[in-house]
């Protein structure tokens, strides 16, 4: 579904993404990393919003630079910001996307997407009256209305309460079960460990480690979690300055 080969992107002297190699199949794939690691830049390149400095990537066999329009017809992108029109109703928001994607049977597809996201009851209300969780689900309904093959989600559960996050994950799992490939970024490692089929940890633009959460956790020892895998592979500015985080963590465990 997604083939990334030696993909790089620099901004002036800063190498944001450095020779990235990755293959993603029909799965829920999580790209994890600290702030500024290159997660969003990678997603921007894959969604054709940013041109790579070098390297290639293909989505559903189409090149992201040479065949960008075909790529865009196969994907949907839900950014971090909750970009839904507050002065339009939920239905109008989804209908706009159905029209822009040129879907023939717009109304039935819109109803289907709203129902899938459990928003049918409130579809006629202005979005300004929706909760954060409902707005996020509305964004998913917009993204699903043209039945994409690959769905890119940038921090899909950011700023949501526990029940809102659980609901979003249930929907993401359902989409995967329907055959959709999900490529997402998140800072919530517990969620990634529980719901992603595979994750990659990226730091300073390079993939530090990639695999299933279970295998990655097992690889570093007993009684560990994806948080430990993350800390093992990502060097914070403090650690780079000589701070021994392992010793500090062991100290905390003893207490």
């Amino acid at each position: 579904m997604i083939e990334i080969r030696k993909l790089s992107r620099s901004f002036g002297n800063l190498l944001a993404v450095d020779n990235l190699d990755l293959d993603v199949e029909n799965e829920i794939f999580g790209l994890l990393g600290p702030n500024g690691a290159g997660k969003s830049t990678t997603v921007m390149m894959l969604t054709t919003l940013l041109k790579p400095s070098s390297g290639t990537a293909k989505i559903c066999v189409y090149d992201i630079v040479k065949e960008s329009k075909k790529v865009r017809s196969k994907i949907s992108y839900v950014p971090q910001d909750m970009a839904v029109d507050r002065k339009l109703t939920g239905r109008e928001n989804v209908l706009l996307y159905a029209k822009l994607y040129g879907i023939p049977d717009k109304n039935s597809k819109v109803n289907e997407a709203l129902e899938m996201m459990e928003l049918s009851d409130r579809a006629g209300d202005l979005v300004s009256t929706y909760s954060g969780g409902m707005r996020r689900r509305l964004e998913l309904a917009q993204a699903l209305v043209h039945e994409p093959e690959v769905l890119f989600l940038d921090e899909p559960t950011l700023g949501l309460d526990v029940s809102g996050r659980k609901k979003i994950w249930e929907h993401i799992r359902m989409l995967k079960a329907k055959g959709m490939t999900i490529f997402m970024t998140t800072h919530y490692l517990e969620e990634a460990e529980k719901y992603c089929n595979r994750v990659a940890i990226i730091d300073k633009g390079r993939i530090a480690v990639v695999g299933s959460p279970d295998n990655l956790v097992i690889s570093i020892g007993e009684d560990t979690s994806l948080n430990d895998v993350f800390l093992e592979n990502v060097k914070t500015p403090e650690e780079q300055a000589g701070f021994n985080s392992t010793q500090f963590r062991n100290l905390l465990r003893r207490r």
Partner: protein, 241 residues
């Protein structure tokens, strides 16, 4: 190019649902016409209202078109631009949708001004001239709304856009032929006014009010709008975030 209409429809519905914005945008230009047209003491004409009406019409289109760039800024800041750019519909349709919305909104304001001007005694024109006034104002708006939308695409915050907007709009208006005819202007202002694109639209509209057909003005405005739309199309096609 159905996407153009969908983007236009989105902006129009959102604008119409903001009642305060709608009322203020329709009342403000009318207030300008009444207070400037009736209150300013002038010696070069005995009917200043008739002289100033074309200036107020073009000024309204100018301010409305330049303000329109903030629509793009908000789409960018709030994350809509990313979502729209990641869709398969032609990216330039976003630009055309904005130009269409900004121009239609400006023409609605112009209609209010024309109605009030007629009520205050400005001569009623024949239908051909009214259509040509709308065409002149539309071409002028296409020029400046394409420019403002392009500027909005490159700036990242609303404050910067407001600064650019003020820097462009006020000098353009005050160095145009809106407030006084060329023969009473000082020489330096006359030179600037002759070069100013705002004067092209005002002179053309004024000629239409006087019963003439401004062929040269309409051609110039068509060429100007065409160039600006072509530049905008190029910018939007290669747009990234």
């Amino acid at each position: 190019m159905r996407a153009v209409f969908y983007y236009f429809e989105r902006d129009l519905v959102k604008w119409l649902r903001g009642r305060v914005t709608v009322i203020s945008s329709l009342v403000m230009p009318a207030a300008w016409l009444v207070f400037v047209g009736l209150a300013l003491p002038t010696k070069f004409t005995d009917n200043y209202l008739e002289f100033i009406t074309p200036g107020i019409l073009v000024m309204t289109m100018l301010f409305s078109s330049l303000q329109g760039g903030s629509l793009m800024i908000f789409d960018k800041i709030l994350g809509f631009l990313n979502k729209f750019l990641a869709m398969p519909s032609p990216r330039e349709s976003m630009l055309y949708g904005k130009i269409l919305f900004i121009s239609v909104r400006g023409l609605m304001q112009a209609t209010v001004i024309l109605l009030i001007a007629a009520l205050l005694g400005v001569r009623i024109l024949n239908p051909v001239q009214i259509v040509l006034i709308y065409l002149t104002l539309f071409l002028f708006s296409a020029f400046f709304s394409a420019l403002s939308t392009m500027i909005g695409l490159y700036l990242s915050d609303h404050d910067s856009y407001s600064a650019v907007n003020s820097m462009i709009s006020m000098p353009l208006f005050f160095t145009s032929s809106a407030l006084m005819p060329y023969d009473v202007m000082p020489a330096w202002l006359k030179t600037l006014a002759k070069l100013n694109p705002v004067s092209y639209a005002i002179d053309s509209t004024r000629m239409l009010f006087e019963g003439g057909i401004p062929v040269q003005g309409l051609i110039s405005l068509t060429i100007g709008a065409g160039i600006m739309v072509i530049l905008g199309t190029y910018q939007f096609r290669k747009a990234c975030v």
